[in-house]
Symmetry: C2
Subunit: 427 residues, 2 copies
C-alpha cells in the first residue's frame, strides 16, 4: 500500500504544507521520499509502446543546435512597440517560469536596449581607454583575447525589474512581465583592472565613464573602486562569444550592479574625476523616494528572491506534492538563506539551496510542498551574507515609497486558488 500524505506529517516545516528541506538529501530523513499521487499509473507489462520516432532513423547533425520544435513557445516576452520606428527600444524579458537551474540560456537572457541591437563587425570594433591615464590605449578584439582572462557566473538584473509591483493594485501579470529582467551567464573576459594598469590610471581619477557602441551611446559613470575590484571586460557568455543582444563583441560586467551599468557593445572607458551625469543616470536610473528626493548612484541590486514555479500560467493539477522552486540573489554578496511561506508570511520554512553558492550569482532554491487543494499564498524571502533581509512590500513602501521604478526588491507573492491557478497578489 502506498504511503499517504499523513505519513509525511512528521516532516512539516511550516504551515499549509511546507515540508522539511532535508527531503532533498537522499537518505537524510527517516523515510524515503515516496510522493504518492504524482505517478498514478503503474507500468503495464512488456513490451513497452514503440513510438513512431523509434521506427525511423532520426535527423542528421547540424552545426549549431536549437531547442526542440515542441519548445517553440519558450521565448522572451517582447512588448508590442508603441511605434515601429522604436521597435528595438525597451525590454525583452526572460520566461523564468519555464526554466530551471542557475544559468539562463543565452537565447533567452533578458535584454534591455535603448536603440536596438547594433550589428557590429568585430574586426572593426575598438575599445578605447583614455581620459586621466598616462597612456591612452586602443584595443582590438584580437589584442583583448591575448590577455589573462577570468570567468565568473553572475546575474545581471535590470534596475527596473519587478517595477510592476509598485502599482497600487496587483496587476494580472505573469512571471516574465513582472520579474523577467533577470538573467545569469558564465561570463569570461579580461579584468578591467588589468587594462587600466596597462593604461596607467592618473592619481586624480575617481570615476570612469563606460560608453556603448549602440546608436543610443548608453553611458554610465562607474566608481573607479568597482572597476579595480571585480569588473570584467567580457568576450564570452556561456562559453561562446557574447550574444548580440547582450553586447557582442564586448560588454562590461560589473558583478551585482544594476543592469544598465554592465555596458553592452563597450567602446569607451574614460577616466574622469567625477561622475559625468549622463542622461542614463539622471533622468532615469535614480531611485525616487516618497518625499520626492532621489537616491543617485545606489548601484548594487539589493537582496531579492522570486518563486519561479508555481507561477501564473502553470496550473497545479490537483492536490498532492509539488516542488516550489525559485531564484535568490544579492548584488552585495552571497545568499545565506532563503525561507519559503505557503501562508502569506505567517510561517516560514528554510528552503534547500543548490550548490555552488557564488557571490553575486543567483542561487536556485527549492522546497517540497504538499498542496491540500485549498487557497495558498506562496512567498520567498532571501537573506544575504551581509545580513540584509528582503523586506516585505509594506516595509519597502515605508522606507522608499512606491513612486520609484528602480531597485524594487520586496517579497513577492503568488496566490494559488482552489483550481490550482497562480496569480500576482499583494499579501
Amino acid at each position: 500500500m502506498r504511503p499517504t500524505f499523513d505519513s509525511l506529517e512528521q516532516d512539516a516545516a511550516a504551515g499549509n504544507g511546507l515540508l522539511d528541506r532535508r527531503l532533498f538529501l537522499s537518505g537524510s530523513v527517516g523515510a524515503a521520499l515516496v510522493m504518492g499521487g504524482i505517478t498514478p499509473n503503474a507500468a503495464g507489462s512488456e513490451p513497452l509502446r514503440v513510438e513512431p520516432w523509434m521506427k525511423v532513423p532520426g535527423s542528421p547533425f547540424i552545426g549549431y543546435g536549437q531547442p526542440s520544435r515542441f519548445e517553440d513557445k519558450v521565448v522572451r516576452a517582447i512588448p508590442a512597440p508603441p511605434n515601429p520606428a522604436t521597435q528595438g527600444v525597451g525590454p525583452a524579458r526572460t520566461p523564468l517560469h519555464l526554466l530551471d537551474g542557475m544559468i539562463t540560456p543565452s537565447g533567452l537572457h533578458f535584454e534591455r536596449s535603448h536603440s536596438g541591437i547594433p550589428d557590429i563587425d568585430p574586426d572593426r570594433h575598438r575599445l578605447v581607454i583614455h581620459g586621466l591615464v598616462r597612456r591612452p590605449l586602443v584595443f582590438t578584439l584580437e589584442a583583448l583575447s591575448r590577455y589573462p582572462m577570468q570567468s565568473r557566473i553572475a546575474f545581471i538584473e535590470c534596475g527596473g525589474n519587478s517595477a510592476a509591483l509598485n502599482a497600487p493594485l496587483a496587476q494580472p501579470l505573469g512571471m516574465a512581465a513582472i520579474h523577467g529582467l533577470l538573467g545569469c551567464s558564465e561570463w569570461t573576459g579580461v579584468r578591467l583592472s588589468t587594462l587600466l594598469d596597462e593604461a596607467g590610471v592618473e592619481p586624480s581619477a575617481r570615476w570612469l565613464i563606460a560608453e556603448g557602441a549602440d546608436s543610443a551611446a548608453v553611458s554610465r559613470s562607474i566608481p573607479l573602486a568597482k572597476a579595480m575590484d571585480d569588473a570584467l571586460v567580457c568576450l564570452y557568455q556561456n562559453g561562446e562569444r557574447v550574444r548580440p543582444s547582450n553586447g557582442y563583441p564586448v560588454r562590461l560586467l560589473l558583478p551585482g550592479f544594476e543592469g544598465i551599468m554592465n555596458v553592452k557593445w563597450l567602446r569607451r572607458i574614460k577616466l574622469v574625476n567625477e561622475p559625468a551625469m549622463t542622461k542614463d543616470e539622471t533622468s532615469k536610473y535614480t531611485i525616487l523616494l516618497k518625499d520626492e528626493k532621489a537616491w543617485q548612484f545606489v548601484l548594487p541590486m539589493e537582496v531579492k528572491s522570486i518563486i519561479t514555479r508555481p507561477a501564473p500560467g502553470l496550473m497545479l493539477k490537483g492536490p498532492g506534492f509539488y516542488q516550489i522552486s525559485g531564484l535568490a540573489w544579492s548584488g552585495n554578496g552571497s545568499i545565506r538563506q532563503v525561507d519559503v511561506s505557503a501562508d502569506g508570511g505567517r510561517s516560514w520554512a528554510p528552503a534547500a539551496l543548490q550548490d555552488p553558492i557564488l557571490p553575486k550569482a543567483p542561487v536556485r532554491f527549492r522546497a517540497v510542498w504538499q498542496w491540500n487543494g485549498g487557497p495558498a499564498i506562496l512567498q520567498s524571502r532571501a537573506t544575504d551574507d551581509t545580513g540584509m533581509v528582503q523586506p516585505t512590500r509594506a516595509q519597502f513602501a515605508a522606507e522608499r515609497g512606491l513612486r520609484g521604478v528602480y531597485h524594487y526588491n520586496a517579497i513577492a507573492s503568488w496566490r494559488i486558488d482552489e483550481k490550482g491557478e497562480a496569480t500576482n497578489f499583494y499579501a
Copy 2:
C-alpha cells in the same frame, strides 16, 4: 617608457616563457601586469571614430536569440557521412578552441548519435521503471516535473574522445577532431534514487539497464550503486529543456561516467541482477589492452586536461604575451592541480585554476606565456583529488597499449613553430 619583457623575468615559473600564475590575481605580484607588445596603438585624440552601426537604430528584439552573424564559423565539426542513409550516425564535435569558460553553449555541445536525433513529442514520451521493483511505474514529463530537482554542472565526455592520438604518427588534426567529444552543461533533473525509492528496488537488484528512445535503442548496464549515488534524470540543460541532440525531453546523467552511459531520450530503466551485455557494451565501449584482453565496465572517465588555446588554426601573431588556456576534468572527483609546460614536459609551472572547482565538472585553467618566437611544445597535466595524475603518452602506451579507442587520457601536445602555428605533436 613601456616595461620590456625583461621586467617580468622575476616571474618566470618554468622554461620557455611560462610565468607565475599569481599574475592572475590582481595586486598579488610586485609589479602590475603590464603586457607590453599586445596593444601597440595608443589612442588618438578625440573624437572617437563613429562606426556605421552607431548611426542607425539597431535591430528589433527576437524571441529566441542567436549568435552574431560574424560567428557563423563557430559550429560543431561534422564528418561527411559515408552513406546518406546514415547521416545521423556518428559524432558532431565541439569547437573547443573557439570557446572559453567552463560551460559549453548548448548549440555547440558535442553529440554522438547512433541513429540520428529522434523527434520526440514530450506529451507522448514516457519513462518506465520496471524489472526488479515492487511497483513498476510510468512517468509522464509532467509527473517528473513535480518531483524535487537538483542541478549540477557536469562534463560529459564520449568514451572515444581523443582516440585520434592512438595513431602511430601524429595526424594533422585540429582541436575539435581530436578532443571535441567533450561538453559541459548545468544539468537539472530528478535524482534517479528518488524515482527508484518510489518504485521500490528489490533486494536482488544489482544493476539497471537504461534504454534510449532513439531508433538504435542505445542501452547500457549501470551499477545500482551509481544510480543511487548521484544519477540525475535530467529535464533541463543550461536552464532550458534539454536539447534534442542531447536527449530531449529527458536524459540520464551519470556524472563522470563515459558519455554513452548518460543515455539520451531515456525511455526505460530496468532493474536487473547482472549486466545485460548489450551491443553497446560488448562490441564497443570496452577498453582493448595490448595483450588483446579488454577491460569491461571501467566506467568513469579518467583525469585529463587539454590546452584549448593556442591550438591548430589559431595563429600566434608574433612574439609576446599570450594566455595559455584549457580545460581539466576527472570522472573520479575534483581537479586539484594543473601544470603547464612550454618545453615538451621538461619543466612545469602550475596553472591558475578558475573557481568554482566542482567534482566531475571541467575546470578552466590558465597560464601567462611569454613566447620568444622560437619553437615550443605546449602540454598540460592534470591531477585529481584522488591523486591520479594524467599519464604521458609513453606511460599510457606501456600500461594499455595503443590499440584501444576508448578512455584515452594521456598528456597531449601542441607544437608551436616559428610562424606561430600550432600542430598536433607527439612529444
